[in-house]
């Protein structure tokens, strides 16, 4: 039995202790926003927050979450349902194409900004290099992170430098 907080709610699951949290969250707890991309922590599509830190759910044994506080993309919005500033910036910059990697991208970016509200380009490189986007939207992801950080960025929809 593993008991943990998932997006603020206490949940208990009974499954093989080594089962990756990814599959428990998707199949048993029915939160499908967290995506399967590689199963080997090489692509970042499954990124969740464990006690506020970005972690790859596909290699996180469910038993290791006992007592932890876990946030998935479904829990990124405010309690009142308002979008996280990064989610709004993702819309403003028209970041997603296929969108499959974006839950993971957003969770990595949110963990970065929680730690470091004014990241440099190098900080963004380091925090985001574990997240693959095969549609190649890295430039827009960088702009969206900078938009939230209040830094100067290239605004895709405006077609000009902003801030």
């Amino acid at each position: 039995m593993t008991t943990f907080k998932l997006n603020g709610e206490v949940r208990t699951v009974d499954t093989d202790p080594e089962t990756p949290a990814l599959w428990v969250i998707r199949e048993q707890l029915d939160l499908t926003g967290t995506k399967f991309g590689c199963g080997m922590a090489q692509c970042g599509a499954c990124t969740i927050h464990v006690n506020g830190r970005a972690q790859r759910a596909c290699i996180t044994p469910i038993a290791s979450l006992d007592g932890a506080s876990v946030t998935t993309i479904e829990g990124l919005k405010g309690a009142d349902g308002s979008l996280h500033a990064l989610q709004q910036a993702w819309i403003d910059q028209q970041v997603p194409q296929c969108g499959y990697c974006q839950s993971g991208q957003l969770m990595s970016a949110a963990a970065l900004l929680a730690d470091n509200p004014n990241p440099s380009d190098a900080d963004i490189d380091t925090a985001m290099r574990g997240n693959v986007c095969r549609c190649g939207m890295y430039g827009r992801i960088r702009s969206a992170i900078k938009q939230v950080a209040g830094a100067s960025f290239y605004d895709a929809m405006e077609g000009s430098q902003n801030g």
Binding site: F36, V132, G136, M157
Partner: protein
């Protein structure tokens, strides 16, 4: 007219001919009779097969193309809304069902008849015929960068215009005023003389009884107010909060999970399966073998090989049990094939030149080479490539004796439905297919193999099954961009003018024009030889352009340097009769500041490529240091005729650039012992945030026929990058990927060699 096949239509150079920009055509007959039962809900009036309007005056476009990231659904809706004079805030869209009524007759018409404008009286006949043929071959395809330029231009604009005319006619009758006095704006009809106005919805029911015109009047480019605007994509909000529904997010009551392994050596059959250990694993429900015919997909006679699947109560348990399966394969001699033997075969077949087929012969190359004062030769090679979509292939299936229901993300819902019906021995009417957002497609998801496997497994276990490929299975069971070798010989005269161009490569696919060069070289001899391999072929973003763009635009660069000319100026002089190409090339040189000197260790390269009806010119800037290449900046110019959604066009180019860069830098699938050696992002990596360049994309609205955007950004990246590396280092890249090249300067290389020797 070309031969009518799905692949031919998709990747042929459609709309490449002359003729008027806008074909005018709508589907024949009254839409409610054909498709009302499929798409019209309570309170909806289906005014056109592609358009319904509800009681609240909300209009919905019904789109026969799927969404894999390209955002065409929003742009297609803009095209319809423009001609309808719709209020954009009242417009939405939904994907058409996988049904013959929504087969791609626009693509067929574009392919077979190019820009021909038929007399009004025969348009319904031609379109009805096209619809029948498209339905018959199961064509509801998203690919070939065709959505906007074929469906949007030929059909959705016409649909919007025809419905606007129907509404005006209906209002004119009701109000007793001439049609000419009625104007439309923002989904409202107005008669200014009497001060009357009414929302479209008021006349929608009456207008729905009419048959849409086949020849409505379309707007001119100067009248556009919705087309040409960067409208935010409708699908994006659901893609930032986890609510977007991909096929893998489907859950059916009682659903179980399947993990699959297909014969690693392509085409192999199962000799024996020892599944005792797997069946003893916790949660395992069944082990199912799937014959070759069940996985052949839409690639003609190709047999993919047998596969075996483990079904369990969770995906994790299924995948774990798959790992302990012991399968013996009958590999039929293919186990001796490797990338080395394949390239040796290519080299031999090019040298022998047996049955060499010509793409182009102009002038007399032999005479020209005699006249040449400088002759250069080179062999270029590219490896096999996998697509590696972020979302691995997956499908959910529920199959009973007389019905099947499939949930999947695919690039050809109608074709998949037909293949699955055939495999299960069911009538197409008894197969329901729900198409979902695709987490990437890039050509991979036009092959029905994963849908067929899911259907066969679900039938075997008699309950709903979700089949998910592991990343390793995705990479090892793809339909690959082929490995290709291409041999060049060029002749320059005493003035440094390129007078002869000879090229032989292996294995031609499509588009047929991919290996051609746009430059005015008097004597050209371009041809190919057959050299098939057992590795399955697939359309990979830009198909044959992905390799030939690299080959021809690199070798042109070699010729420029051999002539002692600037690579940009060298090209300009050979494009005097190609104003659009010339304009794009000059624009990119200007935007990239081509003549500005760069620091030591940096370089700049240029490329030009026409593909899928669009022209793309690119400049790449690199820094090469200690043998490591950093791509600093990519400047792209696209002339797609007219950008319906400029930000969408830019996003497609940015995406195409990164896809091309990933392949150029890291992309390499190798064959060892007959099978793919790679299995994950660690050995088949992609560009990531830290090595993603600054990108600048510029749009030329030349007013030429509308071209594609999804693929044209990809082919020119590799050559511009390789040309930039030559500029920086003096080293010519003739084999991809670049990560395999030793780009260290002599001084950088020497200490390392000394250290090794010590």
């Amino acid at each position: 007219m070309g031969k009518w096949t799905r692949r031919g239509v998709l990747s042929a150079g459609v709309l490449g001919g002359t003729g008027l920009v806008i074909g005018i055509a709508v589907r024949p007959g009254n839409p409610t009779e054909t498709a009302g039962h499929l798409v019209a809900g309570e309170g909806d009036n289906l005014l056109h097969i592609y358009l319904k309007i509800d009681a609240e005056n909300r209009a919905t476009a019904i789109l026969p193309h799927s969404e894999m990231g390209q955002g065409a659904q929003t742009a297609l809706t803009q095209m319809l809304a423009e001609e309808l004079d719709a209020d954009w805030d009242l417009m939405s869209f939904e994907e058409a069902p996988a049904d013959g009524a929504y087969a791609n007759n626009a693509l067929g018409r574009a392919y077979l008849f190019k820009g021909i404008n038929f007399p009004d009286s025969v348009v319904p006949t031609v379109d009805g015929l096209m619809l029948n043929v498209a339905d018959a071959i199961g064509m509801q395809v998203t690919g070939g960068s065709l959505s906007i330029r074929a469906t949007g231009q030929y059909f959705l604009r016409a649909a919007g215009a025809a419905v606007r005319e129907m509404l005006v006619k209906t209002a004119s009758k009701a109000w007793g005023v001439p049609e000419s006095e009625i104007r439309t704006a923002k989904s409202v009809l107005h008669h200014d003389g009497s001060g009357r106005s009414a929302p479209y919805s008021e006349f929608a029911a009456a207008a729905a009884g009419m048959t849409p015109s086949s020849t409505p009047k379309l707007k001119k480019m100067s009248q556009f107010s919705v087309m040409g605007q960067s409208k935010p994509r409708h699908d994006i909000p659901s893609k930032v909060d986890g609510t977007a529904m991909f096929a893998m997010d489907v859950k059916r009551p009682g659903m179980v999970y399947a993990a699959v392994r297909r014969a690693p050596v392509f085409g192999s059959t199962i000799r024996r399966v020892d599944d005792g250990a797997a069946r003893a694993m916790p949660g395992v429900i069944d082990v199912v073998t799937i014959g070759s015919s069940s996985a052949s997909g839409i690639v003609g006679a190709y047999k993919a090989g047998d596969s075996v699947a483990v079904v369990a109560d969770s995906y994790w348990r299924a995948e774990k049990a798959l790992g302990v399966l012991n399968v013996e394969w009958e590999t039929g001699g293919k186990e001796t094939v490797s990338s080395e033997t394949i390239f040796a075969q290519f080299d031999r077949d090019i040298s022998n030149g047996v049955d060499r087929k010509h793409d182009v012969v102009t002038g007399d190359a032999n005479v020209a080479f005699n006249d040449a004062t400088t002759i250069l030769t080179a062999d270029y090679r590219v490896p096999f490539l996998a697509h590696s979509c972020m979302e691995p292939p997956n499908a959910t299936a529920e199959v009973s004796a007389d019905h099947a229901e499939i949930w999947i993300g695919c690039q050809n819902p109608l074709g998949f439905r037909q293949h699955i019906a055939a495999e299960l021995g069911l009538d197409v009417e008894n197969v329901t297919l729900h198409n979902h957002f695709m987490g990437g497609g890039f050509g991979r998801k036009s092959n029905a193999d994963y849908g067929l496997q899911a259907a066969v497994i679900a039938r075997a276990v008699g309950r709903p099954v979700q089949l998910v490929y592991s990343r390793a299975e995705d990479i090892r069971q793809d339909f690959y961009r082929p490995a290709v070798q291409s041999r060049f010989k060029a002749g320059l005269d005493a003035d440094g003018k390129l007078i002869a161009w000879q090229n032989t490569y292996v294995e031609k696919h499509e588009p047929i024009e991919a290996p051609l060069i746009p430059y005015s070289v008097t004597s050209q001899d371009i041809g190919h030889v057959a050299s098939p391999t057992h590795v399955p072929f697939g359309a990979w973003r830009s198909v044959d352009h992905s390799q030939h763009g690299f080959f021809t635009e690199s070798f042109i660069d070699e010729a420029a340097h051999a002539a002692g000319r600037d690579p940009f100026e060298f090209r300009v002089e050979m494009l005097k009769d190609k104003p659009r190409l010339l304009a794009a090339l000059k624009r990119v040189a200007k935007e990239a500041d081509w003549t500005r000197p760069l620091e030591e260790g940096r370089g700049r390269g240029i490329s030009l490529q026409e593909s899928f009806g669009s022209i793309v010119a690119q400049v790449v800037e690199v820094t090469v240091s200690n043998g490591k290449t950093w791509v600093d900046r990519v400047v792209s110019v696209i002339d797609a005729g007219y950008a319906v959604s400029p930000d969408g066009t830019k996003a497609q180019i940015e995406s195409g650039v990164i896809y091309g860069l990933s392949a150029a830098m890291y992309g390499e699938i190798t064959i060892e012992n007959g099978a793919v050696a790679q299995s994950s992002f660690s050995d088949y990596d992609a560009i990531r945030m830290h090595d993603s360049p600054v990108m600048e994309t510029h749009i030329i609205n030349s007013g030429a026929e509308i071209g594609g955007a999804g693929e044209p950004g990809t082919p020119g990246v590799a050559p511009a990058l390789a040309n930039a590396i030559f500029d920086a280092t003096g080293k010519r890249i003739r084999t991809l990927p670049i990560m395999n090249a030793d780009l260290r300067s002599d001084s950088e290389a020497t200490p390392a060699v000394a250290a090794l020797g010590a």
